[in-house]
Symmetry: C3
Subunit: 340 residues, 3 copies
């Protein structure tokens, strides 16, 4: 892959840092950790626990908080939030192959579809009736966008993405491979031991700047839409059920699932493997730790957990057995206290 080389001066400007260096035209061609960085790579110090590695770093320059500026043996890119500096820097070195601004001849595109300027459609893409693709958006190979769906501007759909009909995504969204937006919500009416399907008549609505991980699924609404706010980040293998509403800038880690009609406030962070039951409401700023089952609404911001901590299996079996007897133990404890 082509090598990228950028001067320190250019980097400082693009990431919004103040450069402290003798040679602002020094060329750098990559990013690495403080420990591994070589003389043509930039590093950063965001986590204080790596501070001791600063003194020995071989990096061409380091992104640092002003308080640590004096400790660096190498040129410094000074910023109040070095981790954001690193994030912006990483984008400068992005090695994602460019997709040609063209419609691949193997793509199958309905005549009624409207493609904006600078759109790129890769091989074997299938685009349905009345679909709209915004300017600058790129659709990866073998993706399918069904009738009446809308992709905003500057979106990036990787290979093998599926958008069902009536799915609308905002600008600057990234959808990773294997994600499915708009499959039917899981709705059935019980009828004498059988299940009668409830047609899922709503759609899916994503705001701007949403990222959806690989093999994540967001189901369409039953009546009304499933809604994902602006700036929401979803990891891989997540399940968002019908009519869920996720507030702006929530981040949800992999393999979590949110059941139907649940509402998340803004700026919630949900760790991996979490399950959130249906028809609940979580306020803004809730943090759920890994593999927690959320079985009731949460009205106060803060961190919440369920489950037990890991143990050697042999000892765990004893605790698990005692867990079954907990109510009995509690009653016996009370009796002892009374008889004291």
């Amino acid at each position: 892959m082509a090598q990228i080389a950028i001067t320190l001066a250019e980097i400082a400007e693009k990431i919004g840092a103040t450069l402290v260096a003798k040679d602002d035209q020094l060329l750098v061609s990559g990013i690495a950790t403080l420990e591994l960085a070589e003389s043509d790579q930039i590093s950063f110090l965001a986590n204080p626990s790596y501070r001791k590695q600063l003194v020995d770093t071989q990096a061409a320059a380091v992104i640092l908080h002003p308080d640590l500026q004096e400790e660096s043996p190498v040129p410094v890119l000074v910023m109040n939030n070095p981790y954001v500096g690193f994030a912006k820097l990483s984008q400068l070195f992005n090695n994602l192959p460019e997709q040609p601004i063209a419609i691949h001849p193997s793509a199958v595109i309905a005549e009624s579809a409207e493609l904006g300027e600078g759109v790129s459609i890769a091989a074997n893409v299938v685009i349905g009736e009345s679909v709209q693709i915004g300017a600058g958006s790129r659709i990866g190979a073998n993706s399918v966008i069904s009738d009446h769906s809308i992709v905003g501007d500057n979106c990036l759909l990787h290979a093998n993405v599926v958008m069902y009909h009536d799915v609308v995504i905002g600008n600057n969204c990234i959808l990773h491979s294997g994600c499915v937006l708009g499959a039917d919500g899981f709705g059935f009416a019980p009828d004498a031991g059988n299940w009668v399907k409830i047609a899922q008549l709503g759609g899916v609505r994503l705001g701007d700047d949403v990222e959806v991980g690989a093999n994540t699924t967001i189901d369409r609404g039953a009546l009304g839409h499933t809604q994902i706010g602006n700036g929401v980040k979803l990891d891989d293998q997540i399940m968002i059920a019908h009519n869920v509403v996720i507030g702006d800038c929530c981040a949800i880690a992999a393999t979590s699932g949110i059941a139907g009609s649940t509402i998340l406030g803004k700026n919630c962070t949900i760790a991996g493997g979490v399950g959130i039951a249906g028809h609940l409401e979580l306020t803004d700023g809730v943090h759920i730790t890994g593999m927690t089952l959320v079985s009731k609404s949460i009205k106060e911001p803060g961190a919440y957990s369920s489950g037990t901590a890991i143990m050697p299996a042999k000892e765990w079996r004893k605790s698990a057995t005692r867990f079954r007897q907990l109510d009995d133990m509690a009653r016996r404890l009370k009796t002892l206290e009374k008889n004291q």
Copy 2:
């Protein structure tokens, strides 16, 4: 999308309700909740907790149980099971785009494949040797059906579905995007620190009226088939391992997994995030609550759970620490009782 409009009389006939209305030719064009319904939309009252919304509803008509018929301010569609009425009604307003009854020229279909009458094959579909597709079935874009597999009549495969070889599905099945039927079961023999692959020689068999959610996987059997009964409903992101047998009309919610050779009886309901260990047997009518680990067979119908309830993380850490000491606590409690 085209607007659908139906008379109340037609709706009553199609959902099996008794219409109580002055004007049975009133046209309605949608469905909404009691609270949101406008004068051209139908609503329903299935959950008693919404009963108080009935008196103020603006709906064109409401599907109601006979007991509540007198309370409605608007025309009534009377049924013993209003929720089933709603389900049937939703199907009348289904807005899934129609797929043309045709073979798209980009599809790659083996000469030995047999397609029934009225079959629809979308763009870029790949169909293998000796595959059979039943009458009226629709195969979505970019789906792949491998050699010797069989799709029943009136099935709907959405885009990007994969059926491996020797996978047989019944009539009226719905497979959502990204689901994979017939990948190899997870079988390996340990051999001095390495794993020797056990070829998975069985197939997958689905009954009639089965729905499989987006990105759900059903593995093929090792010897013999993995079997899914009639009327089974599987949500998204579910994993069904090799040689699992699922009884008729079970419903399983998203992100659950069932390990190899486990047998579920009929009419079981499995909530989301559940894990069921291998080689177990669950009788008919078992209900498993969310994120439960089922580690032994279940012989009595009823509801079962594991895990702990959600707490503020700070308090949870204390309980989790004590959980590790539970066996010790139980012994000390016993000692106190003895010494009493």
Copy 3:
């Protein structure tokens, strides 16, 4: 499908067993359990709990440990590890349809891609710039391999697999449908309530003999690669986050997830539904039981668990309530002991 028939002598040679039989030219055409095997099928006894079925078996021959050789009423294939014998036998009867050694005309292959000898490319495959496919590898329909990625020799990619750019897999790997290798790791820097994307600059590296299940995702590294060792077996619906390192010959069951930068030693076995937090280190030979949350590093080999055992839901609710009071119970117990 074509019937396979093999003589006992040929089987003995191919699985490395000693044949004890009057007629070593007897033809067999399948495998079955001791109980179900018919006179043209081979069976095996690996699990002692099936020993009592041996005496009545109708199988053409049985794979047995030398110690049990005398108990067989039918010809015997003697091996020290009968389960490995069964595994090798199953491969002889593999019924996976052969894929023609050819490039399907509908495939879209960059001119700079290099295909080895005997490569098979199915319909609608898309292969990017500078991709290398090793000799004898087969790429299933509708799969996508992006720029600069490398597939080793004798690999099998089933339908609808996605490899992003800069993903390198070794020889003899099997990737099942819907798996995604190289999607972006979940990396964002918080910036005043918003998330700034960290471009994921690393790739994915798989060793030889790795199997990846259906709909499993392995994310690319942030800086440096996500690494999967030789002989690792991953089941379906697994999530491997960025910069995870998995040691040789680990086996991980379905729906488990491993968070970023965690390192697994060699020969670990992870059951289904397990979650492993990020930045941890597990030594060689660790076994994690189903649905355990691994929240700290593990330095000793052995089995580990978390969670609670399944109970009837009604009783479980009592234990779950008491779990919340555990710290209080422990303090009261201590007080009683003091006052004794």
